[in-house]
């Protein structure tokens, strides 16, 4: 189980490979991963960069708690949450959530749930900078519910 907050750009694919290389060979038939990256627009506004603020004492611990809670609902071998803090520019990965499991159902379900919980409750805040100035991002409507059963979207 691993949670890391990163203040510089990261390569999610290299991180996935590095974690996979540490798992027992042949144990996990499934890995489900989500990578969220920074778009060049949001809510109709052009955006050039973001400042990602967090609550240093709380954020890591909160994400670790989300993994512990997911562990009580699903069986999986490993989970990884990486999240950027600080200045993020267009195209940069912001978040990586990945779950390795024996079968795909818990891998899909746990990774989806971790990502939705992160969006709902993890203490991060985005401030957008663009040609029209800067503005704090506000949550855009209700978060989608993580499906509780199989769902291939």
């Amino acid at each position: 189980m691993s949670v890391r907050l990163l203040d510089a750009s990261f390569d999610p694919w290299a991180e996935l490979a590095a974690t996979a290389a540490r798992l027992p060979v042949g144990r996990c038939g499934a890995c489900a991963a989500f990578v969220g990256s920074m778009r060049d627009y949001n809510a109709g506004r052009e955006v050039e960069s973001l400042e990602l603020e967090h609550y240093p004492d709380m954020t890591r611990r909160h994400l670790e708690r989300l993994i512990e809670e997911a562990r009580r609902r699903w069986e999986f071998e490993a989970a990884l949450i990486l999240h950027r803090v600080g200045r993020v520019t267009v195209g940069d990965p912001i978040v990586l959530v990945a779950v390795w499991a024996v079968h795909r159902a818990p891998a899909f379900a746990a990774s989806r749930s971790l990502m939705e919980e992160l969006k709902r409750s993890a203490p991060f805040w985005k401030k957008e900078f663009g040609p029209d100035g800067n503005a704090w991002v506000t949550p855009g409507g209700p978060a989608p519910q993580a499906p509780s059963t199989h769902h291939t979207g």
Partner: protein, 91 residues
């Protein structure tokens, strides 16, 4: 009633609006998170809400005590660290 000292932190748009990141305050022992918010809110209209299943109520301010989400009714003890912040926007 004796008085206790607590630390209060503010984040993101709320920190900018209040013009400070942190306070160290004396409050009545057993004061609630909601009462503390009344004292520090400085004209901010939002009330303290919890992040519910569909996210926090629009415009709500979220509160934590000792790094865990807390409701407005939560009572404070000496040495608690309270934080107030707007709905989160990570990911």
């Amino acid at each position: 009633m004796s008085r206790i000292t607590i630390k209060v932190k503010y984040f993101a748009s709320l920190r900018e609006r209040l013009g400070r990141a942190e306070d160290r305050l004396e409050v009545e022992e057993q004061a609630s998170v909601g009462a503390l918010w009344e004292r520090v809110r400085g004209g901010v209209a939002s009330d303290v809400g919890a992040p519910g299943a569909a996210g926090p109520p629009p415009g709500a301010i979220l509160a934590t005590v000792n790094l865990e989400y807390a409701r407005a009714e939560r009572l404070l003890r000496a040495g608690d660290e309270v934080a107030f912040f707007p709905p989160v926007t990570g990911g």
